[in-house]
């Protein structure tokens, strides 16, 4: 389903070339739930960005559903994301000028779906926000914002869902409820889940834990 082959990412910095990821290879099967854990700066987010095709590796390949997305240009990768990938972010990334409903409609509209409004309303119902469709992000609490983001991630029925510290900006109780919601929806849809976190408790709820340290995999691959 999702495979990384000898991924390498280097960036230039004032101190010279900096290696962020070093020969990372891993395979994730359809329907699997995987947590990528590691300390700050270990390369978790970079790995996520590469797996999701948001960034290009310095060398190595990423395969999604049998397609080498490293060989595609940015628009090609965008098309893959549009069809198969959903995202949940630590800082929610809702568009401030759009209502909750419009935020959830956005990926459907980008995909050209005619039933965007109905599908989005239903997705918001599913995360328990049916009564707040017309609210703007600034009128919602953090937990509510993340629920909108989750509805937005699942509404396109993606094959893979990437979550970057989904509970990182929330208090413990809210975080736990968000995590429950995420795993419930994931189980119901049979989505492959790749979750980046340094919350061991959250990681433990996944089927597999991949550890990363200093740009190298140290366990779980």
């Amino acid at each position: 389903m999702l495979e990384a082959r000898k991924l390498r990412k280097e960036v230039s910095s004032p101190e010279g070339l900096l290696t962020i990821l070093d020969e990372v290879s891993l395979a994730i099967h359809a329907g699997e739930t995987v947590a990528i854990v590691g300390a700050s700066g270990a390369g978790k987010s970079t790995l996520l960005a590469l797996l999701a095709g948001l960034d290009e590796p310095s060398s190595g390949e990423v395969w999604v559903d049998g397609e080498n997305i490293t060989a595609l240009d940015e628009d090609g990768r965008a098309a893959v994301r549009a069809r198969r990938v959903g995202f949940v972010f630590q800082s929610f990334h809702l568009v401030p000028s759009l209502t909750a409903l419009e935020n959830v409609m956005l990926p459907l509209e980008l995909a050209g779906r005619r039933d965007a409004r109905e599908a989005a309303s239903q997705a918001l119902e599913e995360v328990g926000l049916g009564a707040r469709v017309g609210h703007y992000p600034r009128q919602l609490s953090g937990g509510e914002q993340q629920r909108v983001a989750i509805a937005r991630a699942f509404v396109t029925r993606p094959a893979v869902l990437f979550a970057d510290e989904p509970t990182g900006n929330l208090d413990t109780a809210t975080g736990a409820r968000i995590a429950d919601l995420l795993f419930q929806l994931n189980a119901a849809a049979g989505t492959t889940l790749v979750l980046v976190t340094h919350d061991r408790g959250l990681a433990a709820r996944c089927g597999r834990i991949i550890e990363i340290d200093g740009g190298r995999l140290t366990g779980g691959a």
Partner: protein, 829 residues
């Protein structure tokens, strides 16, 4: 299709959430200012043109030695134009045994089509506006003719075979002109009496003319037709030829109005560029998110540009309506001040305004918007990822070029556009460089001062690139405001001073060599200053570099006229006041004995003369040769005697000529002219009062309009500046919130913001003052032919305006943000 749908959605949503407010406001103001100024200058331009048209008593004049066909009158009537015929010829007028030569002007009903004839009941008495033209059997001679003949109102005189009675004294007719050749005293009579005089036979030396007047568009169309179909020997006369003074004044007025239009365009460009930057900054996250969700670069680009285009269309419509209303208000404010009604505006300014707005939008808003396409999608994970920085120089180069092309089309004044463009590019470069140096310097200042100051100034230095952009934008805005508010006053004062209150209002010509001493004494005996006399010799140009004039091919009626008619030559040791050498040099002692001539630049252009050409003349049978040593620009509207051809001292020695002078006479002194004419019968007096008044009126009317247009531009400029400041507030909001989270009090954060905006304002103000001074100098000396005096107020106003406008407005714009709870700001990220 999807992009359009998406753009519509985005437009509606961004609009509802207020995201588009600043960009939309900048656009609306820019377009309103452009169309408003455009509409108004169009109307004032038409009014000034109409006023100037009085010089030929019509909008258009067809002149020939034979009467133009009646077909033209019929065709003109069909085209909706008013017409009148005139006939001018010299003839001797008799009163009993006394006789004198007079310039006869016979006119038909309807004359004059533009302006008014003024008459009085006795010579040199206060005039009143004439009601129509002289009746059949009547003549209206001027005061000089009456003085020559010793006639009075009520006398009967003979002209040819006809006997006519004097019913009025002609004081002024609009087309009497300001050229001082062939100046016999004149009389006005009815064209219907001409057959009775039996003076006009085939081959008579007479000038026939048909006058046309009507709506500007009709006149233009008719003029084009006349140009194509007129017979050989028929000549079209326009204002430029009829009165260089009025033309010169009009050109200046036009330049002032065009200048404010150009400045409005500049302001609009700055405003749009700044707000587009803000728009882009605020949309970086959204675009990254959209790409993350699978939007292609093309969709992002198409959706963004479509959204912009839709916004532009709406802003254009609103701006054009606003601009139209604004100019209506301007016109209403001016109703009591402008003589007569302003002609209605044409649609051209609206279209041009919209075209300009579109160019500005595409040129200055599109480059930053195109950046959105390149936003890395990984920005959703790492906020510090940004699109590659915009290369301003290359991005805006095309925009500036397109804008210049459009501006040229707008004002059709290559020199003005060239100077404004060169000035702007130079100003941008200087502002950019100086801004960079000052930001660098400010960064070093941060040690050893309070925390607020350090925070504010550190911000400036840290956002070096941003700060430079802001210094440039604010500096440019302030510079324009300075130019408009302070330098404008200087320019207008200078302009008005170019026709001084004591400008000569009478030309006295034909003073013989042996009369010179007695002539001077005539004035000193009466307690008046002795007038300065200028030599004048009549001559015809025979050849250029040995090629006879007949063999030279000349383009245009004006050039042919110049080459055929006799010219007034003069000589002088020093250049006349208001003359400026544009090529070559004036002679000095070393040139003694050489035969040199200085030629007026337009005259040289018409006749295709250049520096070093040798001109041959026939001076009453005597040959004369001289080499062109310099080309001169002449300030015609200062009303001093000026000559197309001025020779070096000694060149004209031995040639028989006369002298002329120009004097300023008040109402009481005018009465002495009767005595002057008696003592020096050969001297001709030419009354310039009327044309002087005309030039002053054109000037007053135009400068008044210019003041109001400048005021309008000024207001637009301030609003644009405020919008630009508004556009930088987001960048500061987040930092303020963070500082407050760290425990800084609101007061400290405010002081920091104040320090930052204050320094920014003072830097911009200082730079603006420098650039405005240079620009003011360039405008005055290079474009308007005026003196420029350095004005210290520019510096004071620049610094204060910078501090108050940029500092104050910045603080106001940021205050709202600081008042919010830091959490709200940070959460919005």
């Amino acid at each position: 299709m999807r992009a359009l749908r998406f753009a519509l959605l985005a437009l509606a949503r961004d609009w509802r959430s207020g995201e588009l407010a600043v960009l939309a406001l900048a656009l609306v103001i820019a377009i309103a200012a452009l169309t408003g100024v455009g509409f108004f200058t169009d109307r004032v331009g038409q009014a000034v043109e109409r006023q100037a048209a009085e010089v030929i008593a019509a909008d258009l004049k067809l002149q020939a030695s034979r009467a133009p066909s009646d077909d033209w009158l019929a065709a003109a009537a069909e085209a909706g134009l008013a017409t009148a015929r005139t006939l001018s010829f010299p003839s001797v007028v008799f009163l009993g045994e006394d006789s004198t030569l007079a310039a006869v002007r016979a006119v038909s009903e309807g004359y004059p089509l533009r302006g008014e004839v003024k008459v009085s009941a006795e010579p040199f008495a206060p005039p009143v506006i004439a009601d129509g033209i002289p009746g059949r059997g009547e003549i209206w001679p001027d005061s000089r003719l009456l003085a020559r003949l010793g006639a009075a109102v009520g006398d009967e005189v003979s002209l040819g075979a006809a006997t006519l009675s004097i019913t009025r004294v002609l004081d002024y007719r609009p087309d009497q002109g300001a050229a001082f050749v062939d100046l016999a005293p004149s009389l006005l009579m009815n064209l219907g009496d001409i057959p009775a005089t039996q003076l006009i036979q085939p081959g008579s030396r007479a000038t026939h003319a048909v006058l046309f007047a009507g709506a500007p568009a009709d006149v233009r169309a008719f003029k084009a037709r006349l140009q194509d179909e007129k017979l050989p020997g028929e000549r079209l006369v326009d204002v430029a030829e009829a009165s260089p003074q009025i033309q010169s004044s009009m050109e200046r007025a036009g330049r002032f109005l065009n200048l404010s239009a150009l400045i409005t365009v500049l302001l609009a460009a700055v405003a749009v560029a700044m707000s587009a930057r803000r728009y882009v900054r605020r949309h970086l996250d959204n675009v990254a998110l959209m790409k993350c969700m699978g939007a292609s670069q093309r969709l992002v680009l198409a959706a963004t540009t479509t959204e912009l285009a839709l916004l532009a269309v709406m802003a254009a419509a609103a701006g054009a309506v606003l601009g139209f209303l604004a100019q209506e208000v301007l016109a209403w404010l001016l109703t009591d001040l402008i003589r007569g009604d302003l002609p209605p505006p044409t649609w051209q300014p609206a279209l041009l305004g919209l075209a300009t707005a579109a160019t500005i939008l595409v040129g200055f808003a599109l480059p930053p918007l195109l950046q959105l396409r390149k936003v890395p999608p990984a920005r959703v994970l790492r906020r510090n990822l940004e699109p590659p920085p915009l290369r301003y120089a290359t991005a805006y180069l095309v925009a500036v070029a397109a804008l210049l092309g459009l501006l040229f089309f707008l004002v059709r004044d290559a020199r003005l556009v060239g100077w404004v463009a060169g000035g702007t590019v130079l100003a941008l470069a200087v502002l950019g460089l100086a801004g960079w140096l000052m930001v660098l310097g400010a960064g070093r200042l941060r040690g050893g001062v309070g925390v607020s100051w350090r925070y504010g100034v550190a911000n400036l230095a840290r956002r070096g690139r941003e700060s430079v952009v802001q210094v440039v934008a604010f500096g440019l805005g302030l510079m324009v405001l300075l130019l408009l508010s302070v330098v404008r006053g200087d320019l207008l004062d200078e302009w008005q001073a170019s026709v001084p209150a004591d400008a000569p209002n009478h030309f006295l010509i034909n003073i013989r060599n042996d009369e010179v001493d007695a002539f001077g004494a005539f004035f000193t005996e009466r307690g008046m200053a002795e007038p300065e006399l200028f030599p004048m010799i009549r001559a015809r140009m025979t050849a250029v570099n040995g090629t006879p004039m007949e063999e030279r091919t000349l383009e245009g009626d004006r050039a042919r006229n110049f080459s055929e008619r006799e010219q007034n030559l003069s000589w002088a040791a020093q250049p006349q006041m208001g003359n400026r050498i544009v090529e070559g040099r004036w002679w000095d002692e070393a040139d003694r004995g050489r035969h040199l001539v200085s030629v007026e630049v337009d005259y040289a252009e018409e006749l295709g003369l250049k520096l070093g050409d040798v001109l041959s003349f026939d001076v009453a049978g005597e040959p004369l040769e001289a080499e062109i040593a310099s080309l001169r620009e002449v300030q015609w509207d200062n009303f001093r005697p000026n000559f197309f051809l001025v020779f070096s001292p000694g060149t004209l020695d031995g040639m028989i000529g006369t002298w002329l002078t120009a004097v300023n006479l008040d109402e009481a002194q005018r009465r002495e002219l009767v005595a002057l004419v008696r003592q020096f019968p050969s001297v001709s007096i030419f009354d310039l009062e009327a044309i002087l008044t005309q030039v002053r009126q054109v000037g007053d009317q135009a400068s008044l309009a210019v003041q109001y247009v400048f005021l309008f531009t000024l207001v637009a400029g301030v609003v644009v500046l405020l919008a630009a400041i508004q556009s930088t507030r987001d960048e500061r909001a987040w930092e303020s919130a963070m500082l407050r989270t760290l425990g800084a009090s609101r007061r400290i954060v405010m002081a920091g913001v104040a320090a930052e905006f204050g320094v920014l304002g003072v830097l911009s103000g200082l730079l603006a003052a420098i650039v405005a001074t240079v620009a003011g100098w360039a405008l005055a000396t290079q474009l308007f032919n005026l003196e420029y005096v350095v004005d210290l107020r520019v510096w004071l106003v620049g610094l204060l305006a910078g501090l108050l406008l940029v500092g104050g407005a910045g603080l106001l714009a940021t205050r709202g943000v600081i008042r919010q709870s830091p959490v709200a700001t940070l959460r919005r990220g």
